[in-house]
């Protein structure tokens, strides 16, 4: 058996599993958003309200039109995008700061510190969200401390998009830190030395050498954080406001509380499309670097 065939056969099981249990439902969902209510969608079609059945062979965009026309939805999209962007930026910055600190100091404190940043990886998201909810609540730590130092009108962050963003950052931090510390550790010290030798101060060497050499890890952190924040449910559901909230809870409400599954799946398609755009950035960054480093594609 040729290696090509053997490779294909061995690679098949997970691909088939995902294709069957995720790929097929994705296709069904996409069809349903276009109003194809038969086949795998017939059940939900019999329950749904405000449903737009297909009126052309390819379907209808009516559900999309309705969803996009909704101010509520647009607010959710902007909330999602804003939270995603802020969470990504802050996560990337924090990951860089911690990664740099660990890389350049190498002290025991730095190691403890990076270990600390990984703790959230091991805490179930429900619990994390709940903990964050209480920490930033009306009677939470933050307001308590603010009160003790005399700032009595400190805002309550729980049930606001700020808490959602904080929660997203908290949950995303470990992946970011793991990625960045290992990315930064992979930059040989000698390259930084060489920059200093050429006359760069340490910050300048970081900027000119470490930063560009860690584009891929940074893009990975940004894209994976972005995709998971965008599709998240638990954090915004537990810590966020009723509305406008992120698309995750919004979708869930639309599905359950409003009984409009077709519209909910339109939203899912939107999330998916946004995630795909982010994912494309990730793939592009990987390929670009691979090409430049002379790797055979």
């Amino acid at each position: 058996m040729s290696n090509r065939l053997r490779g294909l056969l061995m690679a098949a099981p997970p691909v088939l599993v995902v294709a069957l249990f995720v790929g097929f439902p994705v296709v069904a969902a996409a069809m349903y958003t276009l109003g194809h209510t038969g086949g795998p969608n017939s059940v939900i079609a019999s329950i749904a309200q405000r449903q737009y059945p297909a009126d052309h062979w390819w379907g209808t965009t009516a559900a999309y039109s309705e969803v996009f026309a909704s101010g509520q939805f647009r607010r959710s999209v902007s909330a999602s995008v804003v939270v995603t962007v802020v969470a990504v930026v802050v996560t990337v910055v924090l990951a860089w700061a911690i990664g740099l600190y660990v890389r350049l100091s190498g002290s025991r404190l730095a190691k403890v510190f990076s270990a600390l940043a990984v703790v959230p990886l091991f805490i179930p998201v429900v619990i994390a969200s709940y903990a964050i909810l209480t920490f930033y609540a009306q009677d939470g730590f933050l307001r308590t401390v603010a009160h003790l130092v005399g700032w009595e009108s400190a805002p309550t962050l729980s049930y606001t998009m700020v808490a959602v963003t904080i929660g997203q950052i908290w949950v995303s931090l470990p992946f970011g830190v793991l990625m960045m510390t290992s990315g930064l550790n992979a930059v040989p010290t000698v390259l930084v030395d060489a920059a200093r030798d050429a006359g760069a101060t340490l910050p300048r060497a970081v900027w000119s050498v470490m930063l560009p050499m860690n584009v891929v890890p940074t893009v990975i952190v940004a894209t994976f954080t972005g995709i998971s924040v965008l599709g998240s449910f638990t954090v915004p559901y537990l810590t966020g406001p009723s509305a406008p909230n992120m698309l995750g809870p919004q979708m869930t409400n639309t599905f359950g509380s409003f009984n409009q599954p077709q519209q909910a799946q339109v939203m899912a398609m939107v999330v998916f499309a946004l995630a795909a755009v982010i994912g494309a950035v990730y793939v592009w960054a990987n390929f670009r670097t691979a090409k430049r480093s002379g790797a055979v594609l």
Binding site: L191, D193, A194, R196, D197, A198, G199, A200, M213, S293
Partner: protein, 409 residues
């Protein structure tokens, strides 16, 4: 070959670190002389009593080194002897625990690397993989905020110097090891540093390329006339490229001399062993009994014999005579094969090495290596052996009581 040693400078007073390593320099044959205010002009680089402890171990031990302006000095020594550590202290990547680093007579001991007039070529070249060749070389100039046109001009000029203009837009990963090496050199040279530092710059190249590139480096260094410290553990490299060589061992300089002197008169056993090949054995070296070794036609001056057990090998030029058996070293080319009056030795192996042939000989209890011209007759079972120069060591130090200069006169 003689080294004009420098004077005590007015600024420095009698403790002038510029005198560092004069002792070693003296070993090249010239006595240290006082006077003259040429220190600043002359001393490209001075290490004065520099010491460094790392991980609790003393890695560099009160090291003195003086490099003349425009000179190329090799730090040669086995792995772990502190070569890189020394170089990094010169470059500013490590701060000495004690002692001083002076460049062109000015103190730089605690100056960070970005403010030193040094430039380093790293062992793996340390090219920035995300910058193309132009940007790698231009980086330092950009930091200095030179006008764009000037940067381009200087980069191109330097790349022309190392013969790489055609690769100006290539990325490091796209060019060969030897080319990367030259980019690293250009990157260092473009800044016109006072001192060029190279840390085993050739060790990742293959044998053939290594020889070619080291000649290129030497050639460029001479053309630019830059003070250079070159770290290597390859004695052949050191011999062929240096003006002077500092042989390091365990954090100290064992000998500091030109290639010729270093090879011919290694002052310690360590140097003798590390530089070139050396036949070492226990022997007595005595005045040749009248009429004995005297029979050897070409011996200049009073003859001698090297006594190993029962065997007495005629020797033309021992560095000293001994009463008791002691350590004697004879270079393979000083094991003379086929001379009349020689002691017969069995040929164990004959290894053609290109332009010369290596003989492995059994002479009494000894196994000796001899290098002879490629044209020496092969296939003989025994050959007569005499010694040319023989170096006598006591307590690991050369005993040099008789001139051993040119045995061939």
């Amino acid at each position: 070959m003689a080294e004009p040693t420098s004077a005590v400078s007015d600024r420095q007073g009698p403790d002038d670190p510029a005198n560092a390593a004069t002792g070693a320099a003296g070993a090249t044959g010239t006595a240290a002389s006082a006077g003259g205010a040429d220190r600043d002009a002359d001393a490209g680089l001075v290490l004065h009593q520099v010491a460094k402890t790392l991980g609790g171990r003393l890695i560099v031990d009160n090291l003195d080194l003086r490099v003349r302006r425009g000179e190329l000095v090799c730090l040669l020594g086995p792995s772990g002897c502190g070569k890189t550590t020394t170089l990094r202290m010169i470059g500013g990547f490590l701060r000495p625990d004690a002692g001083q680093v002076l460049i062109g007579g000015r103190g730089y001991t605690t100056t960070p690397p970005e403010r030193r007039p040094t430039a380093m070529v790293f062992q793996n070249y340390a090219l920035w993989p995300h910058m193309n060749v132009f940007r790698n070389v231009a980086f330092g100039l950009r930091l200095r905020k030179l006008p764009k046109a000037e940067i381009a001009e200087r980069v191109e000029r330097t790349l022309a110097l190392v013969n790489l203009t055609h690769h100006i837009r290539s990325f490091p990963a796209q060019i060969s090891g030897g080319e990367q090496q030259r980019v690293a050199l250009a990157r260092a040279l473009v800044l016109e540093p006072e001192v060029l530092l190279l840390d085993e710059p050739l060790s990742n190249l293959d044998a053939k390329l290594r020889v070619k590139v080291r000649e290129d480096i030497k050639e460029i260094q001479q053309r630019v006339g830059i003070t250079t410290v070159f770290v290597t553990h390859d004695q052949d490299e050191a011999l062929s490229i240096s003006d002077r060589i500092a042989v390091m061992n365990a954090g100290r300089i064992e000998q500091y001399a030109g290639a010729h002197d270093l090879y011919r008169e290694p002052r310690t056993r360590f140097v003798a062993d590390f530089v070139g090949t050396m036949n070492f054995f226990e022997a007595r070296v005595r005045e040749a009994p009248a009429g004995g070794a005297g029979g050897i036609g070409r011996v200049a001056g009073p003859g001698a014999v090297v006594e190993v057990g029962d065997v007495a090998v005629p020797c033309q030029a021992p560095s000293a005579l001994t009463e008791q058996p002691g350590l004697v070293g004879v270079r393979p080319e000083d094991v003379r094969v086929g001379q009349p009056g020689g002691v017969p030795a069995r040929v164990v192996r004959e290894v053609p090495r290109g332009h010369f042939t290596e003989f492995v000989l059994e002479l009494g209890p000894l196994t000796l290596r001899a290098f002879v011209g490629a044209d020496t007759p092969v296939g003989q079972e025994t050959v007569p052996v005499t010694f040319g120069r023989a170096l006598v060591y006591a307590d690991g130090k050369l005993r040099s009581e008789r001139p051993v200069g040119r045995a061939d006169g």
